[in-house]
Amino acid sequence: MITGEQKPIDEIMEMIAPYKRILVLGCASCVAECAAGGEKETAMLASTLRIAAKMRREDILIEEKTLDRQCVRDFVIPLDDIIEKYDAVLSLACGAGVQAVAEIFPEVPIIPALNTEFLGETRDQGYWVESCLGCGDCMLYHFGGICPLARCSKQLLNGPCGGSMDGRCEINPDVECAWHLIVDRLTKFGALDRLENIYPPKDWSRKQGGGPRKIVREDQQK
């Protein structure tokens, strides 16, 4: 899933300051799972902004709505019926959702309410960790299902570096050493000899070689 966190309220207020009729737009997918932009968080943010406006005795219309997905065109198009009412949309989607809405409604300013963080997993309640870079060429097989690109602070393909101590990363004892995990996991599988190989430099053209990436599947097109 794509994770995100709400921006500081002062930053949000500054961005919406010029507008008088604002739609606060939630997204019920990934950012709902990470408790940043789902229906509940959208209602709370809208209510906070309404109270703030009232305190300043400003007459501002703040309404809320949550879409199933802001990053899928079919889910966004129904906004067509109501969007004219507003002079700005404050979106609690990830960066992809914000841009999809902006693409579909080019005449309305779309303001991001979240900082999009990473591709990750919910490890526990209120605890999300980064686990994938979206590199375009998955190497998890080689590393026992633990990605050194996303989870090693130095992105080593031939780790661990000299800063690995007691299974912790040198940058912060709260960070697990991905390479310690990889070595442990492959030892368990009896596959440690896999790491005797020197992994060649990563082919980053699969991630950024052609500029922004797209996937075109003719079999999926009408």
Binding site: S153, Q155, L156, G162, G163, S164, I171, N172
Partner: protein
């Protein structure tokens, strides 16, 4: 003047090599580098120049190496993969060789979060092992990554680092073997204070026959005070300083602490010379280069060999 690596000649001639570290200044003053060069002249075979160590911006390692070379010393160019992608690294390897630099030490580099530019984008396009392999291929096959030919290959003695004190211990030797397979000619280790663990690691390396394939230089750092020892133990990643070393530093009066630090170094060197497979030492006297000569002399390693 013979323009080959002095370090390589000492090691290939069967000598016990001595290298030291020189940190470039946080400024554009060449005189600082040249002064350190005079301090180290005739005391060591080669001088490592650190590459923005601890991710603090300093004069570039290539420039400082070139200054040392001009002053008649044999520099070891430290290069980290933290700040440059594969295009820049390969380009700098060619430039270094053109400037007459004959040794390179390929490193990952301290993470930039520790330095004075924590907002920087860490590059890490290659890792240190891949980088060793790239330099080896450039030198021995005259090819860059992707296979394009060089008009002239670089002439470099290739080094890598090893930290016997980091975890997991068993894997440390596998990683050393990978660095050798990638093409390392010599290895400089992390500072050694825990000799028992170091001997265990060397034993594991010997079991794999690794010291026959690479020259291993043991790392030495003189302690100035007990607080420096504690700081390194607690704050510097990958350091292993046993409590008895700290107690020993604490057990002498303040004005004798530096002398005690030097004594520990000299004793460590004596013990390292007894370990089969150790071919030299690398003295990292952090901002204390003037002590290197004394340590080397008291360890009985002067005069250094002279070549034509």
């Amino acid at each position: 003047m013979n323009n080959s690596s002095k370090l390589k000649r000492v090691l290939e001639g069967g000598g016990f090599a001595v290298t030291a570290e020189c940190g470039p200044p946080k400024g554009a003053n060449s005189d600082v580098v040249l002064k350190k060069a005079e301090t180290l002249r005739n005391k060591v075979d080669a001088v490592n120049v650190t590459d923005n160590q601890t991710a603090i911006v300093r004069m570039s390692s290539i420039a400082a190496c070139s200054l040392l070379k001009t002053a008649g010393l044999d520099p070891v160019l430290q290069m980290v993969v933290r700040d440059r992608n594969r295009i820049a690294l390969q380009s700098d390897i060619l430039g270094a060789s053109a400037l007459g630099i004959r040794n390179v030490l390929c490193l990952s580099g301290d993470h930039h979060i520790f330095g004075n530019q924590p907002q920087a984008m860490g590059v890490f396009d290659l890792d240190s092992i891949q980088f060793v392999q790239v330099v080896r291929t450039m030198r021995d096959e005259g090819k860059i990554l992707g296979g394009d030919d060089l008009s002239q290959p670089p002439d470099l003695f290739i080094g890598a680092a090893a930290n016997p004190f980091a975890d997991p211990l068993d894997f440390r030797v596998i990683r050393l073997a990978k660095k050798i397979r990638a093409g390392a000619d010599f290895i400089q280790t992390q500072c050694i204070y825990n000799l028992d663990r170091f001997e265990r690691w060397m034993g594991m390396a010997r079991d794999r026959g690794l010291p026959d394939k690479v020259y291993i230089l043991g790392g030495i750092t003189p302690l100035k005070s007990p607080s420096m020892a504690k700081y390194m133990k607690n704050k510097v990643s990958g350091m292993d300083i046993p409590d008895e070393i700290i107690k020993r530093m604490e057990g002498v009066p303040k004005d004798k602490q530096r002398e005690e630090g030097i004594k520990i170094c000299v004793e460590t060197i004596q013990r390292l010379r007894e370990i089969p497979g150790i071919k030299g030492i690398h003295v990292m006297a952090i901002e204390w280069e003037e002590v290197v000569g004394e340590i080397v002399e008291r360890a009985g390693l002067l005069p250094r060999p002279v070549f034509d």
